[in-house]
Symmetry: C3
Subunit: 464 residues, 3 copies
């Protein structure tokens, strides 16, 4: 079918009886405002509100989900404009149109079509023959006021949008947005990874900047106080959560002497691998302690080996499509953290994984006991219709619907936000419809649950 | 729909054609007598045959599946009557009714509804407004003779019910039940974990009691003979199996000198972590040897980290909802045991897991070669409709239907037994119906298979 | 239903609307010629073209998928003719007929029925009563010229069939087939495992034979040159790929001095476990280097513990049904190999697994970035309808349809080749039909994709 004739029942189950139930459930939340409590859109995009530059930058170069598969199909990242300003956007767009078929069946392909058609009104399926015409059409659209970021923010019905920010960010863009008359909130998220992991690029320099910015002494205690101060800065600017990205969610409680010793060693560069792991594990533990203190929700995105291809990282930098998941362990790794803070009132710990095996085995059982633990929505490679169906089936029978985080889009691609939330709503409607069709819950319950998944739950879990 | 109007086709597939097949399969076994070869109902419950105390104790306090999710939702275990006799049952029940919705979509929620409606005839959906009324209604029911344990045992159509017992249990309740005129058998299960794991609470005292009870000397050989003697005690009281619960199913064959050395060290408290692991691994190995000798079926429930929250364990004891699964390895861990005993005629080893990844990867391939190995039914967090569907799909293509254990309810909640078996029958009917609808097996085969799953298979595997 | 009345819609989804779509997709490729770029049929079978001996040898004794489950059901391998020439084929066949039901629901059972009915025209369901009659019927069929291997090769419509061969094989059978007028190609595959793994049986003797055959000196460099020479021999005989079977896909780059040291140590027998692992890991790395040089496609079949039952291995040899999968790690293990060769133009690395958890977590993300990495088709225990459905759902949303290998039958059972490819086509039609029914792709795309999966993709990936 032409792209404009999207099936209104798309993503709903094929069985006609189940589909009718799913349609009713979906319709009941289809126009709810969007809550996006974790993502990677920059506040500057909205604060500056400049028109988007061109279709290639918007849909290809800036989206590592897209460059990733084009790269796998044989196009170099340089040809796609990654790490360079020399590339001709129209040439990039033609490359993309030629290889449009590599996205078929993928989540990215689905979102791209939704963006092109649903947001920009492109009326035909992209192909090499119409690439230039579509390009010109999009360029014309992007020049119009209603396609500038703030206008789209309003049109998308975004109620809350969280950004992800460096601890030393001044958050001026957020401050400006608070008084800008935008129809929803833009809140910062404290993302301290580069300041917690001794193996991070420029770790020592980061710590020096952090201590200098806060006037704290070069000791473990000073370092903790500096982090505490920057968290308060985020809180004052509307922040609701901190985010930790780790290859393993290892945690350990150390006494202060040992922590001071490790701090000195990681700054001096004398820490061995075991020391650096202990430091990371203790800092994940300390982030929980600070969340208990200040009330910021703690999210953990675990189990990704970053920058798998060193050659690509050297030439094109991070976030260029070769972060690859690894098997992840939560039960033992989080035990020290949960021993100390798992039963603390008001503490919220949201666990995200790209290792599906942990859903039924570890995360749902943990969230089914600890009042602080929430099952993070399907993340990254798992943020797609079939993966969402597997997620719901894996966690619901153990943890029900009240122990989840609500949907998280986690995207850098601003135009994909409505498509991603719509996908999640359709996927949840599909799952709930099956429970109704199989006599496992009643329709009134299903209607109440889907409303809560879209609205109440993320507000409660993220303290919005 | 009101709870009383349960869908007679509940849990069957939504597609009308497949549902009709599933209904026929389900109906063919719906009224088969129940075989429950592994569970945690106490023999005393039936031997004493006292009326159940009150709805809170029956449905909430005693069921850690239920307290678990209520705890996660913010109610303390103390408020639910765990570890105390002070709590007001009616107040507990009101808490439960307020939070009834947290169970929606869970296996526990499904069983609870079946118990309330199917067993007790409660005619309305539980909610805060009718909590007192339902409470009083259940109290009145429980006072009636037909709701006493033995009457329910008969009404449920239980043919065999296995309990789980301490090796030093005198099994007097079992002996009494054998001459009580009960319409089915109640058989004990030998569960020696606390006597095999040096890290178990009061391990040394347990061993001393074991040796004293059997008159054996304090040596490894004496210890083995003591275990052998207690197994014989269980055999004389109708026992058919032994059960081992382990965090990892590690096994190792040691020579007698090394075993004696380890025995001395674990009793003296001088054994380090590696020694204790070796001792545990060797005792799992020895349990297989003893099963080859005496014919008791060996079941292994592997991969759970017990008592994850030490604070909760200290205050409320074990089995309070925070046993959390871990990734589990069978292929390498069981190789020493299977090298020695895997081909022994008459040896039955049933493997249970809460790590779904092992179904297709390890357990089905092992059971598809070794005549002694059987695929344990979905256990604990996996004992639910969607999880059962995943289990069947994961193991059947490799191991067929004849290498499974038959359904195991593994429950402490006596009233949930019929609901659990009914769920398994419906889930198996649903899976088989799909195979028939997809032309993969014929209907006569499917009818024969479901009959075998419910009746013949558990009898053969558990030597009933 | 009788076996002859196989449902023409078998394996297609039950929902009528989805089934109609699936049928159209399946029909569009049902008669495509077969590409089998990885398998274990011997070239001699076709070169010699002798009639098949008897039904027992053909369907039971030679197929360890079949002997495996019969063994689990209590029949010894000796009774099935494994490792002996004394067994009476008719007695074996009767055993098989008695236990036909153990295969119900399994992939083997499905293929066996397809072979009996689809290839040999057996008109009734096998059972103990008709075992002799069916046996005689098959014997009569096998004596006819149209049931000799080459005639079946033509009838099956095989376009390319890859064998799997020892590096020192002279490939005379392949040479003979090239001029035999066969309607398709038979190509060898270089399988060097026994020459790369110091723990392989007769490793030292193999290396000596390898060096002697190529005239290379006993040094690491000589050893590499010898392997290079034998790969060239395979290339000259039409070989397109090399295959590596490993328990773990560990890779490591070593300098030449260290490699020479390890080579000496593994030949002398002085290498410890760490040395032997390093040697294996470096040789997997070197196989990638040689593939970059000579263009042979590199396939890796990882994650199987071979010969789990030592007693069975001693008595009956390898490939007797007790190779058991283990959890497998690709992300970290392959990083050294991919750092060096992952971006090399023309390098093709196809990853096969029997650990399903790696599909969405590791293999699809790797293949979604590295142009060299392809997602291997479901393998061994996973080569079955439900497992294929899980595979497609797990990898497609991340990697699409263009990063797969196309179907691989990997079989020793020549008669099962059409059934296996037909199963894969039906399973892919079922998956694509669901995407169409759910409005995720259009029918023209689905028709193009299924054609590519069956024909274009395997030709490109395996350079056919």
């Amino acid at each position: 079918m032409p792209a404009t004739l999207r099936d209104p029942d798309r993503l709903l189950p094929a069985d006609p009886g189940t589909r009718a139930i799913a349609r009713e459930l979906y319709e009941s939340v289809a126009r709810h405002r969007i809550l996006s409590p974790h993502g990677h859109v920059a506040a500057e995009l909205l604060a500056e509100d400049r028109p988007f530059a061109d279709p290639a930058g918007l849909f290809v170069t800036s989206d590592h989900y897209v460059t990733r598969l084009l790269h796998a199909s044989g196009v170099s990242l340089g040809e796609l404009g990654v790490g360079t300003t020399d590339a001709d956007p129209r040439a990039i767009w033609r490359r993309f149109a030629e290889r449009w078929h590599v996205f078929e069946g993928t989540a990215s392909g689905y979102w791209l079509r939704e963006e092109l058609t649903g947001v920009l009104g492109v009326v035909s399926e992209l192909d090499p023959d119409n690439a230039d015409e579509v390009y010109d059409d999009i360029v014309a659209q992007l020049a119009r006021p209603q396609f500038r970021p703030r206008a789209l923010f309003d049109r998308f019905g975004i109620d809350v949008l969280a950004t992800t920010d460096d601890p030393l960010d001044d958050l001026e863009a957020h401050a400006a947005l608070q008084v800008s008359g935008l129809s929803g909130r833009v809140v910062p998220t404290f993302r301290p990874d580069g300041y917690l992991d001794p193996d991070a690029v420029d770790f020592r320099e980061r710590i020096e900047r952090l201590l200098a910015a806060t006037g704290e002494p070069a000791s473990f205690t000073g370092y903790l106080d500096a982090l505490r101060a920057r968290r308060e800065h985020f809180l004052r600017h509307g922040g609701v959560s901190t985010d930790q990205g780790v290859e393993e969610p290892y945690t350990v409680d150390l006494d202060l002497n040992e922590a001071e010793r490790l701090f000195t060693a990681v700054i001096d560069g004398t820490a061995d691998a075991a020391d650096r792991r202990a430091f990371r594990g203790h800092m994940l533990f300390q982030m929980a302690r600070l969340s208990v203190e200040d009330g910021l929700v703690m999210t953990v995105h675990a189990g990704v080996r970053r920058n798998h291809s060193a050659a690509t990282h050297r030439e094109f930098g991070p976030d260029t499509g070769h972060d690859i998941p690894v098997a992840t362990e939560f039960t033992r790794n989080l035990q020290p953290l949960l021993e100390s803070f798992g039963l603390e009132p008001g503490f919220h710990l949201v666990l995200f994984t790209v290792d599906e095996t942990t859903y039924s085995r570890e995360i749902a059982p943990l969230a089914g006991f600890y009042p602080s633990v929430y099952v993070g929505a399907p993340w990254w490679f798992l943020d797609a219709p079939d993966a969402i169906a597997r997620f719901r089936a894996a966690v619901t029978e153990t943890a029900g619907f009240t122990r989840g985080s609500g949907f998280i889009d986690d995207t850098r691609a601003f135009l994909s936000i409505p498509a991603r939330h719509d996908t999640a709503r359709r996927a949840d409607a599909a799952y709930l419809a099956r429970l109704v069709a199989e006599g496992r819950i009643g329709m009134p319950s299903a209607l109440r649950i889907i409303d809560d998944l879209v609205d109440g739950l993320p507000r409660r879990v993220f303290k919005l």
